[in-house]
């Protein structure tokens, strides 16, 4: 193209090959191949696996999201790849393209499709969030999405106490002893009450698909039901200071029998220090220890704070 008379749009359209059709076909073929592959082949390997119901639901969620993302990514790649091959100017020549300023149908279609996708994702995500009891995420002191209570098994209540820099666990409906080990029975719902003694930590049981921030003075509740035996990693997921990277340990999902054996052994081991522990409560309030800016200067030494808000009921009674 040269000169001061650019071709008229109609003329150009007639001469052009049917780019849109070609791009669409390439995209369709690629998506038809890739999407099932992604869902069926990659999907089962997506984290966090299926060690608990919440982990399985997260894995399903990621499978669906990846399957939806695949055609979107492929469309962009196909289009830009095609454009870079076919919509090139000749080397060393400065020539103008057709002056297309917009296309109502394309723009409206684009907006409509992206909005529809977004609304679908929102609906899907909300369903997945509600469906297996908050999807293993921390739900604050008054969870609104809790598991449907099955009459046969009472959930195991474990208080996770994060401090700089380790996790300890209190088994609230097994006498309330405290230990550094985390054992869970298989196929029994677990309620984690995550709290912190000092700064913000994050309780992340990776294979269980459980993550809840440990906030001082807050009882952050997360639900899950382990469904497979094995080992899972517990890591701190919020930066908490120098030893943040070293704040990890392993937990174990064991059979019901092995769990009660372990429970008995630990109860005996920790019998001496049980009286030293504060009464089981939604969260620790260590009071005097540590103090505010050092024990010498307690700005509020006279005030007797109420231990916890009345809205939080103690889970220890169960």
């Amino acid at each position: 193209m040269s000169g001061s008379t650019p071709p008229s749009p109609t003329h150009a359209t007639a001469a052009q090959p049917r780019h849109a059709l070609r791009i669409f076909l390439v995209w369709l073929v690629l998506s038809a191949i890739a999407t099932p592959l992604v869902y069926l082949v990659l999907g089962p390997h997506l984290p966090p696996g299926g060690m608990s119901d919440s982990a399985a639901s997260q894995q399903f969620d990621m499978k669906v999201l990846t399957a939806i993302a695949t055609p979107v990514v492929l469309f962009i790649w196909t289009y830009f790849g095609y454009a870079l091959i076919f919509f090139r100017s000749q080397r060393g020549v400065i020539e103008d393209g057709p002056p297309i300023r917009g296309n109502r149908v394309f723009q409206a279609g684009w907006l409509g499709i992206t909005t529809a996708l977004v609304l679908f994702l929102f609906g899907f995500g909300t369903y997945e969030l509600i469906h297996p009891a908050g999807a293993g995420a921390g739900e604050g002191p008054n969870p609104i999405w809790s598991p449907v209570s099955s009459s046969s098994t009472k959930p195991l209540e474990v208080q996770v106490i994060a401090q700089q820099w380790q996790f300890t666990y209190r088994y609230l409906n097994a006498g309330g002893f405290e230990t550094t080990q985390l054992y869970l029975p298989v196929d029994r719902p677990v309620v984690f009450h995550v709290t912190s003694l000092d700064v913000i930590h994050g309780f992340w049981a990776y294979q269980l698909g459980v993550k809840a921030d440990a906030n001082p003075g807050v009882d952050n509740v997360a639900f899950t039901t382990p469904t497979q035996l094995g080992r899972f990693e517990v890591r701190c997921s919020e930066l908490c200071g120098i030893w943040h990277g070293a704040m990890y340990n392993n937990g174990y999902v064991v059979s019901a029998g092995a769990f009660s054996q372990w429970l008995t052994k630990e109860q005996q081991r920790h019998a001496p220090d049980l009286p030293l522990l504060p009464p089981a409560a939604p969260y620790y309030n260590p009071g005097a220890g540590g103090g505010f800016y050092g024990s010498g200067q307690e700005p509020n030494a006279t005030a007797t704070p109420s231990p916890f808000p009345s809205s939080v009921t103690s889970p220890a009674g169960s």
């Binding site: 040269s2 000169g3 650019p6 060393g92 020549v93 400065i94 505010f292």
Partner: protein, 235 residues
């Protein structure tokens, strides 16, 4: 960069004929000085409002902190009834701050309406400057003898935090009013009725500064009342 060929698509270049230029409204380019004077006025108008928006957002964050901590009532320590700054001093400070700010706003309005001369306005701003300085001094004095420690409760924290911000804001207001006052003194020959208005860019800059100061003073009057209501009535 590749050498471009002469026969490229500079399709529009040849069309730069005077015919298309004549479509431009000519009055828009009549006077460059007027153009930039107007631009500067618009910019000053916009910027003064943006600064008020910034100030309002800072206070918004503090008000959010107030209600957030109040709703959480962490450890039952939002507020203890004994923790109140002396009410009499606070009322006096509120009265001084608000009336002086409003005085300045009022004087500016009169000046703008042309009812009175600059002298009248100057007296009002001088009074405002003095009273504001007094208010700032009283605020600092009050902070130094609070009946509670800053870390005693959520209320105490927000109170101390807000008071310090308010002192800073009052100092900004004070600075603005003082500078326009000082400028009006320098420009008194030009500004007074029948004065020589030769250097009118100076006059315009002065007017813009007065407007900005008046806007900020009005904002501070509202803020002072709001802060008072928050800490002495609502809590």
């Amino acid at each position: 960069m590749a050498e471009h060929s002469v026969s490229d698509g500079r399709s529009g270049a040849a069309a730069a004929t005077p015919t298309s230029v004549q479509d431009v409204p000519v009055h828009a380019v009549v006077d460059e000085q007027a153009f930039y004077a107007r631009a500067q006025a618009n910019a000053s108008w916009a910027a003064s409002r943006m600064f008020v928006a910034i100030g309002a957002t800072v206070y918004g964050a503090l008000v959010f902190s107030y209600f957030y901590l109040r709703s959480l009532d962490s450890n039952g320590l939002w507020h203890q009834p004994s923790q109140h700054p002396p009410i009499l001093l606070s009322v006096v400070m509120l009265g001084l701050g608000v009336t002086s700010s409003l005085l300045f706003v009022w004087a500016t309005r009169r000046l703008r309406a042309g009812r009175r001369g600059v002298l009248d306005w100057g007296v009002a701003s001088a009074i405002t400057t003095g009273v504001l300085a007094l208010t700032v001094g009283l605020s600092i004095w009050q902070l130094s003898r609070l009946p509670f420690a800053p870390g005693d409760s959520g209320y105490a924290s927000v109170f101390v935090g807000t008071e310090v911000v308010t002192i800073g804001m009052l100092l900004i207001e004070l600075y603005q009013i003082e500078t326009v006052l000082a400028r009006s003194i320098r420009l008194r020959g030009v500004l007074s009725p029948g004065g020589d208005a030769a250097d009118s860019s100076e006059v315009m800059a002065f007017r813009l500064a007065v407007d900005a100061a008046s806007l900020f003073a009005g904002f501070m009057a509202i803020v002072l009342v709001g802060v008072f209501v928050l800490f002495y009535w609502v809590s």
